[in-house]
């Protein structure tokens, strides 16, 4: 059963960014390298490049999100695009308009790119399959499936600190079952050549078949953290406490919360990451979240450069000169 890869065009270039799965290592490296060149903008008095001047980007969010939407919006504005934010959680689709109607209507306004977040897995693929030629779709998180720009900003952060992926041991801790971020991270780490990807969680939060995805499951946090270079903590949604998945926050923290003591099992120079927002005292102790090994805030700022990289690559404008370094 061959799998289509609709995010790559006939020339092997990125035309949508839907998932990390199936992408080549060279392409991921190109994203990271491009993001590196954009990251220099932050220190400039004028933080803009004209790469997407005249282009219209619609941020189409069917699920509430502050952090992701804000960093996308900043990235778009720094690329000089015209930006439209549409929150559809309480809009047209609740009045009976189908997703396709929404897409078609917005396309009729000559939109060049859609950044889409949706609660259903596969929503970004669905849009990409039905988008008009030349219109790019960027997945800003679909159900439990993928959050590829988040994973790439995590890779960017890891590369900044560790240089190479080869030989790295990475532990992802928390709600793997419901996490689109974890799935994208597992794909990215494996493609980029990490030595070992571990997932640490109780069985209630681990999906079946996780080994086939390229991760080794652990139930004991100390074992899972032993000798790792990178610890990625995931956010735990509070509703998991009510769904018989976990008995209590206290017990979760007791077994899977990251404390200084637990972190000592990892390598001395291990970094601690979290996609945010953090539940302090549930997933992670404040002393770790704010401690010297935490790179959590760096992740946020790296998000802008990575999203600029992905969007500029997906728009495929090789003739345009990058305006600033």
């Amino acid at each position: 059963m061959s799998r289509e890869n609709i995010q790559i065009d006939d020339n092997g270039k990125l035309c949508h960014f839907l998932t990390i799965e199936g992408l080549q290592r060279e392409l991921l490296t190109e994203i990271l390298d491009t993001a590196e060149s954009f990251s220099g903008l932050t220190g400039q008095p004028v933080k803009k490049v004209p790469l997407l001047r005249g282009k219209t980007i619609v941020n189409l969010f069917f699920e509430p999100s502050t952090r992701t939407r804000t960093t996308f919006e900043l990235a778009e504005k720094r690329l000089s695009a015209d930006v439209l934010n549409i929150n559809l959680a309480a809009s047209a689709t609740t009045k009976g308009e189908t997703l396709l109607d929404t897409l078609r209507n917005l396309e009729a306004m000559h939109t060049d790119m859609f950044v889409i977040r949706h609660a259903d897995s596969g929503a970004a693929h669905f849009f990409a399959r039905h988008a008009a030629p030349g219109v790019s779709i960027i997945n800003a998180g679909d159900g439990r499936h993928a959050h590829p720009t988040q994973a790439m900003l995590d890779m960017f952060t890891i590369r900044r600190h560790k240089g190479e992926f080869t030989g790295l041991k990475v532990a992802i801790v928390g709600d793997i079952l419901h996490s689109r971020v974890a799935r994208s991270q597992i794909h990215a780490l494996n493609i980029l050549g990490a030595e070992e990807v571990r997932v640490v969680a109780p069985d209630t939060l681990l999906p079946s078949g996780i080994t086939e995805l390229g991760a080794t499951p652990y139930h004991d946090l100390s074992e899972g953290l032993e000798d790792v270079d990178v610890v990625i903590m995931l956010r735990l949604q509070r509703e998991r406490m009510q769904g018989a998945m976990l008995p209590s926050e206290d017990e979760y923290f007791e077994c899977f919360g990251l404390t200084e003591k637990r972190l000592s099992a990892a390598k001395q120079d291990a970094i601690v990451m979290h996609p945010g927002p953090i539940n302090r005292g549930v997933e992670i102790d404040s002393t770790v979240a704010d401690g010297p090994r935490s790179v959590i805030l760096q992740q946020v700022s790296h998000g802008i450069a990575v999203r600029m990289a992905v969007m500029s690559m997906a728009m495929q404008q090789p003739d345009l000169e990058r305006g600033a370094e």
Partner: protein, 427 residues
């Protein structure tokens, strides 16, 4: 009308017949099989040389979408598609709108089917009122109005005491209970088999246990009550083992599978192809292997279409938001013939699972070619190759993953009670 069918390979598994011979039809019934006397003067003769002549196919599960969902399809369109697929009798589950929980709805379905005239539609009565799993429907009345079976379709009966009473009451009226084993809570609004594919795609998974725990509970109550029960659309190897053991222990239990479940697996979902969104979900390749073996050894004594036609919009959404099901009447026989060529299953066995097997479950005098019986007959060429296209589909539902694929086995004639309800004129 007197019809003579000559030179066909007559396959009647119920009577252990597989030979080239003739069959005569008069006044809607079979007048003779084999030697046709000179007294029989046919008004129409069908030369069935090179073709298989078998009992009309009986489909234990096909949704015709009427009443209630006529934007998808209706009894006229889908019974016409059934005739084109060689199906002469089909059962519609009770989850119509309104629910088939009264004689009025059951009679409406049968009347509409009679008026259309393409196929016999047997409505399955609702086991509980409104399928709510609380209050029993008037099962005796449903039986009088032509329901041979009763079912709660895919709706749960949470309270085991209600289920026990339903079984006892159905047994009282000698009704077979059709069960769709899926524990509502374990399924947890999932939309794909819980396994590597669902994990990869981030789709909420339906574990095997959703099927097996329900089968276990049902079997315990079947044993207790002695009801005749039929498990519909079995999808897991573990459930097959439980049913096989129950049959061995003498329980009056039969089971079926949808033809496409014998061909497809969860990996076919690929990148969220909503045409593969089914309930029960497409399972693993080892489950499929067990399903195939169970069809071959008769543990699964019937194969049905599980036909679920949809309008185009129903599949135009992100995978979890799409409606499950395949438009499957017209691929039923071709898929079974493909199964035969892949597994070595004999043609007579295939015909048995599509005729006598389901007839036995329903307890109806169909699915066999005997003198005096109603002449429900299907004539097909098992070698003809053809391409499934939207233009060629008779069903209003075009939601099939087989569009554009080559199929083998083509229906050429379908007779319902001695009347030609389908005849292929060209190609």
């Amino acid at each position: 009308m007197r019809i003579l069918i000559n030179n066909g390979r007559l396959i009647d598994p119920a009577n252990n017949i597989d030979e080239i011979t003739s069959i005569a039809i008069e006044a809607g019934r079979i007048a003779a099989v084999g030697e046709i006397t000179d007294n029989f003067v046919a008004e129409q003769t069908i030369d069935a040389a090179g073709q298989v002549v078998c009992p009309g196919l009986i489909d234990l599960g096909a949704r015709l979408r009427e009443p209630g969902d006529e934007q998808k399809a209706d009894i006229h369109s889908e019974s016409h598609a059934a005739a084109a697929a060689g199906i002469t009798t089909l059962c519609q589950p009770p989850d119509t709108d309104p629910v088939t929980d009264t004689a009025a709805v059951a009679e409406l379905v049968r009347k509409r089917a009679r008026n259309a005239g393409f196929a016999r539609v047997l409505p399955i009565g609702a086991l509980t009122q409104g399928l709510k799993g609380e209050q029993l429907s008037e099962l005796a009345d449903l039986k009088r109005s032509g329901c041979n079976a009763v079912s709660n379709a895919r709706q749960p009966i949470a309270n085991p005491l209600v289920l026990r009473r339903a079984f006892e009451y159905a047994a009282t009226h000698d009704l077979v209970v059709f069960l769709h084993p899926e524990d509502h809570w374990l399924a947890n609004n999932g939309c794909a088999h819980e396994g590597p594919t669902a994990t990869r795609l981030g789709l909420p998974g339906i574990p095997e246990a959703a099927e097996t725990t329900e089968v276990a509970r049902d079997l315990a109550l079947i044993q207790q009550t002695g009801v005749r029960a039929h498990f519909c659309r079995i999808s897991t190897a573990a459930a097959i083992e439980m049913i096989r053991r129950a049959q061995h222990d003498g329980l009056k239990v039969t089971a079926d599978v949808a033809a496409h479940q014998l061909m497809l697996i969860d990996e076919h979902i690929g990148e969220f192809n909503s045409l593969y969104h089914l309930l029960p979900p497409l399972r693993s390749s080892s489950d499929r292997e067990s399903l195939r073996k169970a069809v071959a050894d008769g543990t699964l004594s019937a194969v049905c279409s599980d036909h679920q036609p949809h309008e185009a919009d129903a599949k135009l959404a992100p995978f979890p938001a799409t409606e499950p099901g395949i438009s499957a009447l017209e691929t039923l026989l071709p898929l079974m013939l493909e199964l035969g060529s892949r597994t070595g299953m004999q043609l007579s066995q295939i015909v048995q699972r599509l005729t006598a097997g389901p007839a036995a479950t329903l307890g109806i005098e169909r699915g066999r070619l005997e003198v005096g019986m109603p002449a429900d007959i299907t004539i097909f060429n098992p070698e003809t190759r053809w391409q499934l296209t939207e233009e060629r589909l008779v069903s209003r539902g075009h939601n099939t993953p087989y569009l554009g694929r080559e199929m083998v086995g083509q229906i050429n004639y379908t007779l319902l009670e001695g009347r030609l309800v389908f005849e292929r004129h060209s190609g």
